[in-house]
Structure formats: structure tokens, C-alpha cells
């Protein structure tokens, strides 16, 4: 069914009892052309573009638990493309352009809101780095501007420029086309679009092993039995090292818990996204009125999907200094997700040492914004059995060639 004002009206008349299911829950077939492991946004987007761009529809997405239950459903939904290096700029900007038309493309409201993303500078070094990044962005055709302190205040009146004396605001970069989107809707919209084209979305189906013969992938072992496929794409974010280990190779990844929290809902108070890399704090307000706040990562390797309290305390302290009027707000919920970070804070997309097994991981603290672009280039990579030109620099082999794409400044921990 196509969603429209008309379908809404018709279903209103029948008291919303007849909306069709968005996707089926089929049992897995014994064999597929392509298996995608991981039903997060990136995996579902990959399946969607395999079907819509490459006509490959005999595809299964195997999800350990429920789709969108990983980092897709846990992130603070900030979308922007103002990365430093050419390789990243192209990749993230491709994603941003896809975001701009995604609701129409999927016929599903992903609530993409280009409300503008500011990255604050608190000292002279931040100002220099930020100006450099703004200039690099503009050379790559990405909208990016530098705001001085007064312009920051005009753009976001809620900010206290003195930052309690500890975090004075000296300026910011602003990407007006950046913003937020509804994370669940992204997973569901892609799942619905893929399922409509014949892709099987199989939930509660963890992959427990790989069938590899002579270095070539033959299929996977799952909780629902063995499934064959000549091409397998692995998009499991925080579990990438675990699955790579099953397939017999290692990755340069470090898993860390990253936390976020939301406040009680209040009237509109802040209509943009404000990020501060230096103090590991970022904030926006959801349509429900909750302040959505992202904290930092814990220092150590973890798969626990929760972070420690002293991290959130540090973040909230910084938020209260910059936005004194939020001091008396209550926090409703806090949670964590396991982020898979690379030494250069850039993702890994492409071949693995196993022929026919492709990988897309390492998005770390900042992959939500890339979801459409990541799926788009990864689908193309799997369909044509070679890296998409935009994905090429992000090959696993960059760790032996030394061609690292250091994005700690643009990626940092804040997103």
C-alpha cells in the first residue's frame, strides 16, 4: 500500500484497524543470491538498494534480534556531512543528498529535519581547527560556515556564551543542511521498501558461523539452520569483530559503549542541533519535546550496551554550563550502544580476506548520518563484486598501505 493523505483518510474511516503489515516474517529459504547479516539501518539500506538499484531481490537480511534494535535505535540521530577529508566528504555528502529525498523515495516519513547543526569552539585551537574544516568543506561543495560568538547566540539564543566560565563559546561551524531524522523510521522505511521488492527480513536469527571452503564463502550457520549464498554482506556494527573472528580474520576495531539520554518533554526550547566535541556533549530537542543528549564513550572495550555514570555526569555538567536554563530538568531515560571504532575514525567498506564475504563496519560513533550512503555504496559493491568508487578508499587494506583517513577531528566522539 502507498501511504498518502488518501490512504490515511480511508484508514481513519475504518478506525485504523486495516493498515497492512509493513513486512512479513518469512522462514528462511535454503539459499539466497545475497545474505545481509545485521538488520540495522545500514544492513536494511543495503538490501533495499540491492533490490531497487541492482534488481537483486533474492536477498535475506538476517537479524539477531529485532530490526533497528542495535545502534540504529540507540543513536542521537544527528545528520551532517561536514567531514574534513575529500574521501569522507564525498561519502557523507552522498548520504546527505539521499537523506534530502528519502521520505519521498521510501514513501515513508523519516522525519528528516534540516534544522542546522552547530559544532562549538571553546578555545583558540578549536577556532583554528574549525575554520580549517569549514574551508575544506566548502572546497568540497559542502555548505559550511563559520559563526562568531555573536552569530552563535543569534542562531541559538538558548546558549550562554560564557559557558559558566569553563566552556566559553568562541564561535562555531554551522551546516544548515544538517539536522536530525527519526531513527526507527529509517529502519522501518528501508525494511518496508526492501520487503515490498521481495527481500526476506528474518528476525531472531543470529548468525553463528560461516561456511567457507578454500577461502570462498558458501553460506552461513544460523539459529534457524544453515543458509547458502555466494555473496554475504556483514553489517553488524558493534559485533563486527565477533563475526570476523568466526570467519577467521581480525579487524582493527575497538568496541566502546557510547551513551545517550533524554529528558522529560518540555515546550520547544532549542530548534537546532548543538554539538561540542571538546566537552563530549551534544543536544537537540525531539518533536516530542524531550532534550536528546549524547555523552562520551567509556575508555575500555565493552559489549555491555551500557556505559558508566561518571560519563553522563560529565556530559550533563557541560550541558548545564552551556544551557543554564536546563539545570532543573529531569532525565527520563539513559542507555548505551556498542560502537565499533577504527583507529582513524573512518569506516571499513569492501572486501574481506574471504572471497564473497563483504564487510561494512567501523562507523563507530557516527554512522547514522551515513545510513543511506553506506547502504547505497555497499549494495553497489556487492552487486558488482568490486568496491564502489566512493567506498574504495575505505578498504580494509588501508591499514597495510597506510592510507588512513583520519577523521577524529570531524568525528571525535560527538555526532
Amino acid at each position: 500500500m502507498r501511504y498518502s493523505a488518501f490512504s490515511l483518510l480511508r484508514n481513519t474511516l475504518s478506525h485504523h484497524k486495516n493498515w497492512p503489515q509493513m513486512w512479513d516474517n518469512p522462514d528462511p529459504l535454503p539459499e539466497y543470491d545475497v545474505i545481509i547479516i545485521g538488520g540495522g539501518g545500514h544492513g536494511l539500506a543495503t538490501a533495499y538498494y540491492l533490490a531497487s538499484q541492482h534488481g537483486i531481490t533474492n536477498v535475506a537480511v538476517l537479524e539477531k534480534a529485532w530490526i533497528g534494535g542495535g545502534n540504529t535505535g540507540r543513536n542521537t540521530t544527528i545528520v551532517r556531512s561536514n567531514y574534513l577529508w575529500d574521501e569522507s566528504a564525498k561519502l557523507y555528502e552522498t548520504a546527505l543528498k539521499l537523506w534530502e529525498n528519502l521520505s519521498q523515495e521510501l514513501n515513508y516519513n523519516v522525519m528528516f529535519s534540516q534544522r542546522g547543526v552547530m559544532n562549538l569552539c571553546h578555545n583558540v585551537h578549536d577556532v583554528r581547527e574549525t575554520k580549517r574544516r569549514v574551508n575544506a568543506n566548502r572546497l568540497n561543495g559542502i555548505d559550511s560556515e563559520f559563526l562568531d560568538a555573536q552569530q552563535v547566540k543569534e542562531f541559538c539564543p538558548a546558549i550562554d556564551l560564557r559557558g559558566g566560565g569553563r566552556y566559553p563559546v568562541m564561535g562555531a561551524s554551522l551546516q544548515r543542511r544538517g539536522g536530525t531524522a527519526r531513527h526507527d523510521a529509517v529502519a522501518w522505511g528501508y525494511a518496508r521498501g526492501a520487503a515490498k521488492r521481495g527481500v526476506h527480513i528474518i528476525q531472531n536469527c543470529p548468525v553463528t558461523g560461516f561456511d567457507i571452503e578454500g577461502g570462498v564463502i558458501k553460506g552461513v550457520q544460523t539459529a534457524k539452520g544453515a543458509i547458502k549464498a555466494k555473496r554475504v554482506g556483514m553489517v553488524v556494527a558493534g559485533h563486527s569483530s565477533v563475526l570476523a573472528n568466526m570467519a577467521g580474520f581480525k579487524l582493527p576495531l575497538h568496541c566502546r559503549p557510547l551513551q545517550a539520554l533524554v529528558s522529560e518533554p518540555v515546550k520547544p526550547a532549542i530548534d537546532c542541533v548543538v554539538m561540542s566535541n571538546a566537552v563530549h556533549a551534544y543536544i537537540s530537542q525531539s518533536d516530542k519535546g524531550e532534550l536528546v543528549i549524547g555523552a562520551g564513550t567509556d575508555a575500555y572495550c565493552s559489549y555491555g550496551q551500557r556505559g558508566s555514570m561518571h560519563n553522563t555526569e560529565g556530559t550533563l555538567a557541560a550541558i548545564c554550563e552551556m544551557f543554564p536554563q536546563f539545570r532543573r530538568m529531569k532525565m527520563l531515560r539513559a542507555w548505551g550502544g556498542i560502537v565499533d571504532t577504527c583507529p582513524d575514525a573512518s569506516p571499513i567498506i569492501g572486501h574481506t580476506p574471504v572471497k564473497g564475504l563483504y564487510i561494512n563496519c567501523g562507523w563507530g560513533t557516527g554512522g547514522f548520518k551515513a545510513t543511506p550512503g553506506s547502504g547505497f555504496v555497499f549494495a553497489d559493491t556487492i552487486a558488482n563484486e568490486r568496491p564502489h568508487p566512493l567506498a574504495e578508499p575505505f578498504a580494509l587494506s588501508r591499514f597495510s598501505t597506510g592510507y588512513l583517513i583520519g577523521e577524529h577531528g570531524a568525528a571525535g566522539v560527538a555526532h
Binding site: 559485533h239 569483530s241 565477533v242 573472528n245 581480525k250 579487524l251 582493527p252 576495531l253 575497538h254 568496541c255 575508555a299 575500555y300 572495550c301 565493552s302 559489549y303 555491555g304 558508566s308 555514570m309 561518571h310 583507529p343 591499514f399 597495510s400 598501505t401 597506510g402
Partner: protein, 99 residues
Amino acid sequence: MLLIECPHCGPRNESEFHYGDQAHIARPEHNEGMSDQEWAEYVYLRENPKGLFRERWCHTAGCGRWFNAVRDTVSSRIMATYKTGEEAPIGADQEGGQL
């Protein structure tokens, strides 16, 4: 916040420590002929296991010394800490195994 037992100073708050990731990685000897791939393995490729993990910590705000710990990366429970140069109380074969 973790409570970490420094083998030199005793139990202290995590905030006194600095994390050093995977332990027992020896710099390869006779590395003149090593390939780029072998260097990549030494410099970048890591276990990053789900389950037991032998890792390094430095007691930066205390004695300043590096030591090793065995920790479960799911529960974050620290099974043991031991001095640099000592054998881990679990072997490499148990790494990634969950309790």
C-alpha cells in the same frame, strides 16, 4: 565507575587509570623483512573480544605503572589484575569465552 585493583597500590577508582587495550602484544623481533601486512597485524589488528579479555591499564594518577587485567567485556567484571611480565591467570585459548 569500575573499581580496579592496581597490583602495586590496591583498589582504586577507574578515574585514576588510563586504558591501554590489548595486552601481551610483543613488538616483532627481526622485523627488517616484515611485510606491510605483517606490520598492519602488529600495529592495528586486534582481538576486541566479547567475553574474557587480557588488557592493559596504567595507574596514571597513582604509581604511574602499567599492569594487566583480565576482564569480562560483557559484564565488565575484572577477574584478576597482574604485573607486567607475569603470566595471565587465563590462557589465550579462553579469551572471548564468556563466564
